[in-house]
Amino acid sequence: MADFRPRAEGAGQSAGLLERAKSGDLEAFDQVMRLHEKQVLTTALRMLGNLQDAQDAAQETFLRLYKSLNRLPDILEIKSWLYRVTVNVCNDMHRDRRRRRSEPWSGPDPVSTLPDPELAWVHQERGQLVEIALKTLPEKERAAVVLRDVQGLSTREVAAILGSSEVTVRSQISVARGKLKKFTDRYLRKRL
């Protein structure tokens, strides 16, 4: 099993917070959110591609955490649980949004503060391109590549969160990276 254990000094403090949150202490729950908000919001942002939707997903994820507090055996479970729920919530929202059709992409903003304007353009453009390319991936590939490349989790940890085997996850990541590269290549070669 993947090890999501917090480091020793933080674990006791987190466990105390969780116990207080379970007993209905909203301040303690606020602290639990602060500990995990970066993980949840950045995952959601990469999965959904815009901040407003990512905030909605993060809100839903934390509300589900609040409802499930008493069912979580201990603090060690929270990190992987939050990744799993964030991915599920984002997939649901993505499906829902696809049904409603999102607005078409209008292209990257050429304004940059980097010294070399050409390099800056490419750098910024690549960032936006991978963001758009992510949206074109099937949900399992997208989740695998976000957890691996954005959150920096190991293949083993990603497999545990997504409930797949390591071999499957490795394959999904490989395919996803290949698709992202093709997408960025196609656009950047046209531009340069």
Partner: protein, 176 residues
């Protein structure tokens, strides 16, 4: 092994003997690896304004508090409805199970009632006798003088000092 096979290994991060050596020799695979790395860095570069975190926490807290209020309201509504239903049920069931209510009698003290004989004036209607008038020879009603009868007064004390039951009976025991 051709470059397509190497690319697959590079993309899946599969450790393989000879990969480093191949990358040193093959410009195409080196470029492929560099591009993947650029994309990975671009993906990892996520900047979220601090206000966005605060906003999420605020929204979550507000929603939790609103849900708590809604839960409390529903709980009290359910308790109120249950109480009303219970009262209604009791009021419907109780009269049908009870025997017809007997008129409430004043509670009589356990100790024997105190009976007092009190002389009292009770007007008794004088008995009329038909008598023949001596002089006129006509019949005339002779009214016998009214008799002074002493009725028997029975006082019964109850537990309530304000309530005393009093019977007035004549010598024969009839109620007056």
């Amino acid at each position: 092994m051709n470059c397509a096979d190497w690319e697959e290994r590079i993309a899946s991060e599969t450790e393989s003997a000879g990969l480093e050596e191949h990358l040193r020799e093959c410009e195409r695979c080196r470029e492929f690896a560099r591009e993947l790395d650029e994309n990975r860095k671009a993906l990892a570069e996520v900047t979220v304004p601090a206000a966005a975190f605060d906003a999420v926490r605020l929204r979550v807290r507000s929603e939790i508090e609103a849900r708590k209020r809604r839960t409390a309201w529903w709980t009290w509504s359910a308790v109120g409805a249950a109480a009303c239903a219970a009262v209604l049920t009791v009021s419907l069931i109780l009269p049908s199970t009870k025997s017809p209510a007997a008129p409430k009698m004043p509670h009589i003290a356990a100790n024997p009632p105190k009976i007092e004989r009190t002389p009292a004036y009770v007007p008794v209607v004088a008995k009329a006798h038909r008598v023949r008038h001596v002089h006129s020879g006509r019949l005339a009603a002779k009214v016998a003088p009214a008799q002074q009868v002493e009725p028997l007064v029975v006082k019964m004390l109850t537990n309530d000092p304000n309530v005393i039951i009093i019977w007035l009976v004549n010598e024969k025991g009839d109620e007056l």
